[in-house]
Amino acid sequence: MAYSDKVIDHYENPRNVGSFDKADEQVGTGMVGAPACGDVMKLQIRVSKEGIIEDARFKTYGCGSAIASSSLITEWVKGKTLDEAGSIKNSQIAEELALPPVKIHCSILAEDAIKAAISDYRKKHVEESAGPSSAADAPGAGATV
């Protein structure tokens, strides 16, 4: 399998490898796995009180494309709102990394992992986000942390 230069770069120099404390209120954790290849991916986001993703970490056990997809998406989500991050499509990752058709599922894994992380974070903050969950209206006040 010939990997693209971008895949090799992310594989050899993965960005944001590591973990945050799962129990931290500002952290959302998403885990996904692909039975077809046995790949497992853990993606975490740290969200500011304003609802912006400040930092992200991942730990992926899988092929080069799975590692590159998770590395890339952790770079992309930084500075984004939850809604913006949740709207990243696997096709954008696949395109950026020039993934061949047999590796598209790696980018799907990364998309699902970030969605799972966002939903984990939102579950921790249900009472605050009672209003519409549009990007700009993160409630600053009233949060009991």
């Binding site: 885990m31 996904v32 796995g33 692909a34 039975p35 077809a36 290849c37 046995g38 497992v40 853990k42 730990k59 056990y61 599922h105 799907i108 894994l109 699902d112 799972a116």
Partner: protein, 175 residues
């Protein structure tokens, strides 16, 4: 045209997840000896081709059915349940958490070149695999095919771990 036989029919064993491996071995050897190329040296081209096809079919059936997870996947496929679907994604957090722990333990043992640790991880995994297969057998027995599909998918991860541990052990053996 006769419809293609399924793997169980090819070997003449009942369609079931529970198979007697010795019966399977016997059926396979029996069939292979009947279609062995040595028996067809004086046969016509067409007869030889048929024998070859039967031998290939028997081999494929045997390789699939003797391996419990392949057998499970095949049985579910017969019911149009695609266990190995590329688009299927496992989300169950407890299971994935456990998977990550396994991976970290294997990674640490490999990095530390700790053969004893890898071997004990291997034993632990084999024990877990045994439990999971007996659970899978119960699911098939009660006709719970969708849960069986989930159980088979989890076993795909378990077998991946087994290969990872095996690779680690091999690495140290050659070094």
């Amino acid at each position: 045209m006769a419809q293609a036989k399924n793997h169980f029919e090819v070997l003449g064993v009942p369609v079931s997840f529970t198979v007697a491996l010795d019966a399977l071995d016997r059926a396979y050897r029996n069939l292979q000896s009947k279609v062995h190329p040595d028996r067809f040296v004086n046969a016509t081209e067409a007869e030889r081709r048929v024998a070859m096809q039967l031998a290939t079919g028997a081999n494929e059936a045997y390789q699939t059915l003797k391996h419990p997870l392949k057998r499970a996947i095949y049985l579910l496929e017969m019911r149009d349940i695609d266990v190995r679907s590329e688009t299927s994604i496992t989300m169950e957090p407890a299971f994935l958490m456990q998977q990550l722990e396994w991976r970290e333990n294997i990674e640490d043992a490999r990095a530390a070149r700790n053969l004893g640790r890898l071997e004990s991880l291997h034993d632990e995994l084999i024990a877990e695999k045994r439990v999971r297969f007996s659970h899978l057998e119960k699911l098939f027995g009660s006709g719970a095919f969708q849960p069986a599909c989930e159980a088979a998918r989890q076993l795909l991860f378990i077998e991946k771990l087994e290969r990872e541990i095996g690779d680690g052990i091999e690495e140290m053996d050659v070094a």
